[in-house]
C-alpha cells in the first residue's frame, strides 16, 4: 500500500463527472462555511487520503437537516479530525444500492465489477466481473447475471432503472480505459440507482 496513491474523494468525483457520471453536489471545506448553497438534507464526510474507510472511524454523518445541526456536527467532526478537510454534500434520496469497481488482475489486466451494494456486497458476494473494456451487451449481461437482478426489473414495485446501471457501467469502463495502466483499484460504493438516474455517492480510487 505504501507506494500506492489514494486520490481524494472530491477529486475522484470531479474525474467521474467528466465522463457524464452523476455525483451529488458538494463542496470541500476546511472550516464551517457561513452559508451553504446546497439543498438540505446534507451529508458531512471527512475527506482525507489517509482515511480510506471513513464510516469505520465515524467520518460520515448523514441526514443533516439544517444549518444549526450542520454547525453542531461540524464542530464534533473537526474535533475528531482536526487536520483533515471535509466534504459537504446534498444527501441522495434512497434507491437500490449497487457497487461498481475496477481492479487490476495479474492475469487478465483491468477488470470491472458490478454487484449489489451496501452491506449486501460482502454478505452475498453477488457480483459479476468482465474485462475492461466492455461492450454494452456485456454490461447488460452483468446486470442480468447477479441473483438480485429482479431489483432492476420492477420487483415489488422497486423503481431502479436497469438502463441507468448499464449506462454507468459503460462510462466506468471508458474511465478505466483512459487510465488503464495507472489504476490500481476503484470502488464506487454505494451507487444509488433510481428510476431517473444512478448517482455515485461514495468513490474511492487508488492509483498505482
Amino acid at each position: 500500500m505504501t507506494d500506492k496513491k489514494v486520490i481524494e474523494e472530491i477529486e475522484v468525483k470531479e474525474m467521474l463527472k467528466k465522463y457524464g457520471i452523476n455525483v451529488p453536489d458538494g463542496i470541500l471545506v476546511r472550516d464551517l462555511p457561513e452559508k451553504i448553497d446546497l439543498p438540505y438534507p446534507l451529508v458531512l464526510k471527512v475527506s482525507d487520503p489517509n482515511i480510506l474507510h471513513k464510516s469505520d472511524v465515524g467520518g460520515v454523518i448523514l441526514n443533516i437537516k439544517n444549518y444549526d445541526e450542520l454547525a453542531l456536527k461540524f464542530k464534533e467532526m473537526k474535533g475528531r479530525f482536526p487536520k483533515s478537510n471535509f466534504l459537504i454534500e446534498s444527501m441522495e434520496k434512497p434507491g437500490v444500492e449497487i457497487i461498481i469497481g475496477l481492479i487490476q488482475d495479474k492475469t487478465f489486466g483491468l477488470s470491472i465489477m458490478f454487484g449489489l451494494g451496501g452491506i449486501f456486497t460482502e454478505l452475498y458476494k453477488d457480483v459479476s466481473f468482465r474485462l475492461v473494456p466492455i461492450e454494452e451487451y456485456d454490461a447488460k449481461e452483468m446486470v442480468e447475471e447477479i441473483k438480485a437482478k429482479k431489483l432492476f426489473e420492477g420487483f415489488r414495485n422497486i423503481k431502479a432503472d436497469k438502463n441507468k446501471v448499464i449506462d454507468l457501467l459503460m462510462k466506468v469502463s471508458s474511465f478505466g480505459m483512459d487510465h488503464y495502466n495507472s489504476i490500481d483499484q476503484l470502488d464506487l460504493n454505494p451507487v444509488i440507482v433510481r428510476e431517473d438516474k444512478a448517482v455515485v455517492v461514495d468513490a474511492k480510487l487508488i492509483m498505482k
Binding site: 481492479i103 492475469t107 460482502e122 457480483v127 470502488d187
Partner: protein, 462 residues
C-alpha cells in the same frame, strides 16, 4: 506453419534406443505401432540399428527437412539438443523430459537456455515436461502409453489442448470407448514457448477441427488468450475446463472490489465475455465440445422433448426448466396445429403435449413424423430426442431418421442402456449426431447450444 506440427512429413526421435526401459525406445515403438506414414529418423549417437532402422548420430546428419523432432533425452541434455534442432531448422521440437522449472531454479535455468537458443529461429518448442502430441490423422503419438493398457481415440472433430498430460491421456482413453474421435491432442507441459493462445489460431485454420476443448490450470497470458478466443468463437466453439476454482486467494485488496475479485470470479467473467463455454469436468469438456462441434447453435430457449418412455419425458422436462437442479430453459408449448398432427401419428394413450410420448408402441416411422412436426412448429426452438431401443418397433434404422433430421432445428439425442444402446451411441458418433448416455448430459449439451446461440445473437455475429 501449423501443418508441420499437425501433419508432419518427417519425425526425428532424438535419443532413440534399443533399451526397452528408455523413453526413446517407447516413442519410436509407438510411432511404428500407430502406423505413422511419414519418414522416421531415429537419432542415436552409437549409430545402432534399432527395429531394423538405420539411425543417425546427430540430427544434423539427416539429409532431409525435419518437421517434428521428439527429444527423449533427460533434462540436462535437452538445451544442447534443441540447439542442434535449431541449426537443422527443425520446425517443431517436443521436449518430453521433466526436471525443468517445475522442480526449481536449476530447471528454470535449463528452460532459459532453451529459449535463448530458439530466439530468432523458426524452431518452436512444445513442453518441456510434456507427453507431447497425439495426431490420429497423421498417426503420430509421442505419449508413453502402452497400447495394451490405454486406448487412444480415432479421427474426429475435437482439438484437445491440455496443460496436464495424464488428464489428457486418461480422458482420451475414456472417450475411445464411445468411439469419440479427436482431430489432435497437444499437451502444453511447461509451455515455455508454444502456448494455448497460439494453438487456438492453429485450430481455427485446421479444417478437421470443429470445436476446440482445453484443460487449463493457468493462463500463460490471460489477456492475449481472451482477445484471441473472442475472435475465434465467432467461427469455432471453444470449451474450457479451468481448475483452481476454489482458490479463494483474493487480491491484496484494500477496497471491496479487490476483496471480491477472486481468481475464479474474473475467469468466469472473462469466459462469458469471450463466448467461451465453461466445463467443470472432463466429461463436460468432451460432451460440450461434441455438442457444439456437431450441432448448430440454439437461438431461443423453447425445447421439445420426444420419448417413448414417460418417465424420461417428465424428468427431462424438470431438468430443462428448473433453475436450481436444471438448466433454466423452457419446455415448449406446442401449437394446436402440431397437436392435431401428432394425434394422427401417436396412439391415443400417448402424449401429444410436450414432452411428446410415443409410448412403447412408438416406431421408427413415428419418430420420423413426430420430429418432422416439431421441426415445423414455430413454438419450438430445439429438440431433445430419446432414442430408446427396448421396444420392438424401434430398430437401428432410427439412426437414419436422426441423421436426416440433423438438418432441422438443433437437436441432441439421449440414448440410454448398455447393450444395444451402447452400439447405437457408437453409431450416432460415427454419423456426427451428438448423443449422450444420460438425461442429465443430454440436457446440459442442449444448454451449451443455447449459451452459444445467445452469445452470437446478442453480439450480432452471424
Amino acid at each position: 506453419m501449423y501443418e508441420h506440427l499437425l501433419n508432419p512429413k518427417s519425425v526425428a526421435i532424438i535419443g532413440a534406443s534399443k533399451d526397452e526401459r528408455k523413453i526413446g525406445n517407447v516413442v519410436l515403438k509407438n510411432l511404428i505401432y500407430y502406423g505413422y506414414k511419414g519418414k522416421i529418423y531415429p537419432i542415436n549417437p552409437k549409430n545402432e540399428v534399432i527395429f531394423n532402422m538405420r539411425t543417425y548420430p546427430s540430427i544434423k546428419d539427416i539429409d532431409d527437412e525435419i518437421d517434428l523432432a521428439v527429444i527423449t533425452l533427460p533434462a540436462q541434455l535437452v538445451p544442447e539438443s534443441v540447439k542442434e534442432c535449431v541449426e537443422k531448422n527443425v520446425k517443431y521440437v517436443i521436449a518430453i523430459a521433466g526436471g525443468f522449472s517445475e522442480t526449481g531454479e536449476k530447471g528454470k535455468e535449463l528452460e532459459e537456455k532453451i529459449l535463448e537458443s530458439i530466439k530468432n529461429s523458426n524452431t518452436r518448442i512444445i513442453g518441456p515436461n510434456t507427453v507431447g502430441v497425439y495426431l490420429p490423422k497423421s498417426k503420430v503419438s509421442t505419449a508413453l502409453t502402452l497400447p495394451d493398457r490405454t486406448a487412444l481415440p480415432g479421427e474426429g472433430y475435437l482439438a484437445f489442448i491440455s496443460q496436464s498430460g495424464a488428464l489428457g491421456l486418461l480422458t482420451m482413453d475414456t472417450i475411445s470407448e464411445y468411439g469419440i474421435g479427436i482431430s489432435a491432442f497437444i499437451n502444453l507441459g511447461n509451455r515455455i514457448d508454444l502456448s494455448e493462445t497460439e494453438l487456438l489460431d492453429f485450430f481455427k485454420e485446421d479444417e478437421n477441427t470443429k470445436s476446440i476443448v482445453l484443460y487449463l490450470e493457468t493462463f500463460k497470458n490471460g489477456r492475449e488468450f481472451f482477445n484471441k478466443a473472442k475472435q475465434i468463437v465467432k467461427s469455432k466453439p471453444i470449451v474450457v475446463l479451468k481448475s483452481g476454482r476454489t482458490d479463494a486467494g483474493a487480491k491484496a485488496a484494500s477496497l471491496h472490489t479487490g476483496a471480491l475479485a477472486t481468481n475464479d470470479n474474473i475467469v468466469e467473467g472473462m469466459m462469458k465475455q469471450a463466448g467461451i463455454i465453461r466445463a467443470y469436468s472432463e466429461t463436460e469438456l468432451i460432451d460440450y465440445g461434441r455438442a457444439l462441434g456437431y450441432q448448430k447453435p440454439l437461438y431461443g430457449d423453447r425445447i421439445a422433448i420426444v420419448t417413448t418412455a414417460g418417465g424420461l419425458g417428465v424428468i427431462t422436462a424438470d431438468y430443462v426448466s428448473s433453475e436450481n437442479n436444471g438448466v433454466g430453459l423452457k419446455v415448449a408449448r406446442l401449437s394446436n396445429k402440431s397437436k392435431d398432427d401428432l394425434k394422427n401419428v401417436i396412439v391415443p394413450f400417448g402424449s401429444i403435449e410436450n414432452p411428446v410420448d410415443l409410448t412403447a408402441d412408438g416406431s421408427t416411422d413415428q419418430y420420423d413424423k413426430v420430429i418432422e412436426i416439431l421441426n415445423r412448429d414455430e413454438n419450438v426452438d430445439g429438440l431433445i430426442v430419446y432414442a430408446l431401443f427396448q421396444t420392438a418397433k424401434v430398430d437401428s434404422s432410427l439412426m437414419d431418421v436422426l441423421e436426416k433430421h440433423m438438418k432441422g432445428k438443433p437437436m441432441v439425442v439421449g440414448i440410454l442402456g448398455s447393450k444395444f444402446g451402447k452400439q447405437m451411441l457408437l453409431e450416432a458418433e460415427k454419423r456426427g449426431i451428438p448423443a449422450y448416455p444420460s438425461m442429465e448430459r443430454t440436457v446440459k449439451a442442449m444448454k451449451v447450444l443455447y449459451i452459444r446461440g445467445k452469445y452470437l445473437e446478442g453480439r450480432d455475429i452471424k
